[in-house]
Amino acid sequence: MSYIPSDTLAERAARGELQAVGRLISRAEAGVPEVRPTLAAIYRRTGAAHVIGITGVAGSGKSTLVAGLALRLRQAGDKVGIVAIDPSSPYSGGSILGDRIRMSELAADPGIFIRSMATRGALGGMARATLEAVDILDLAGFDAIIIETVGVGQDEVEIARASHTTIVVSAPGLGDGIQAIKAGTLEIADIHVVSKCDRSDADRTLMDLKQMLMLGHAAAASTDWQVPVIGVSAYSGEGIDALVTAITRHRAVALRSAAGQTRRLAIADFRLRKTAENLLAERFAAVAAEGAPPLARRLADRDADPYTLARELVANLLAWESKHE
């Protein structure tokens, strides 16, 4: 089989060819140099999709909720893209990507595109190529794109800088559910969901959460948007309609209000920083691979200090591109 140029794949993806969408995401994930100009061109063509982020600790019911939500959005006529992230094993670098198995009722609908991604060492709840995958799905005409974060840490606040609407999921019976919210995800939610509301202990979680939000809101009351707390059972379907209504309302507010504009700018700013970060990390690896740096020798010999040499190293990283590309 011959190698199909990424630009050709992008045209096919824009026509909705699923194989091309999948292949482009693989190339973005692998960081193939040939795909980069294509990704740059794709970005300019995006911006139509509504990006919905879903976070919450592992086991809180994110994947199951995504399945229920996607099904409902689909019934309303949207094409739905899903990027679901799971952790890579720190030992082998491999992974078992388990989100998709919870979404098996969506399996054969070409209007729903599910892509699983491993973190491969990336921090913050997303993988390095998650945002590129979102772009590619946007290009392919998916109206709503849902990102499911890893859900291991309590520091997954980056999702709020990657999505237009951020949903934080808390589950009853996990004990640490509310804990995670205390530790920093409280502020990032546009919508709070308490999952597994078919369980008898869900009322308690709902009450705790509402109480905590009232305390927070006394300090930072927003006039544009009141963060709702919605009880959902992905099993019975209870609350899914309310959730879809809240998402639709939030989208309208986010598009029109001044706060929404600020949010869009913050998303762009985050994207820029992330891209720069990745660029530097790559250069770092490439420069390191070229052999033991003379800078380190000068540092070891006390010829110079780490601060001066670090500046020199950064200058080298920037110069590296013109030498090699």
Partner: protein, 137 residues
């Protein structure tokens, strides 16, 4: 595999076959060998499996069959892959089946058939070799 990242693999169970011990053993072995593994879960249709394989753009689609249905499952899978324009996907099989069926599905395009008692290391090296032979895509 530093250039292109870990090998991506979809492990699938098709039809009424409820034997999932083997596929779970294989999933862990592949993860421990540094691969990204997606498991379909039990009772999937060929349509669901191929749609997933195309969306995930896996290097290898592996089907585990202990139900004797290989001669109907694989023709369907290859037809669907063709419809998606995904003819370059490597398809392998595992499980339990008679020798003449192994020959038959290989003739259809299954690249490797690794049956009961295959050591996990053999599965890992076979998949790595097949992906390396395929080259960049």
């Amino acid at each position: 595999m530093t250039e292109t990242g870990p090998i991506r693999m979809l492990l699938a169970k098709v039809g009424l076959d409820g034997h999932d011990r083997g596929v779970k053993v294989v999933a862990r072995a592949l993860r421990d060998a540094g691969m990204d593994v997606i498991y379909s879960g039990l009772h999937r249709t060929p349509e669901e499996v191929v749609t997933a394989a195309v969306q995930e753009d896996v290097d290898v689609l592996g089907v585990s069959l202990l139900s004797g249905t290989q001669l109907t499952v694989f023709p369907r899978i290859f037809a669907l892959l063709g419809q998606y324009g995904a003819g370059d996907m490597i398809v392998v099989a595992g499980g339990v089946m008679p020798d003449e069926d192994v020959a038959a599905i290989k003739a259809m395009g299954v690249r490797a058939v690794l049956l009961q008692d295959t050591p996990p290391e053999t599965i890992v090296t076979t998949l790595r070799r097949l992906v390396a032979e395929r080259g960049a895509r």
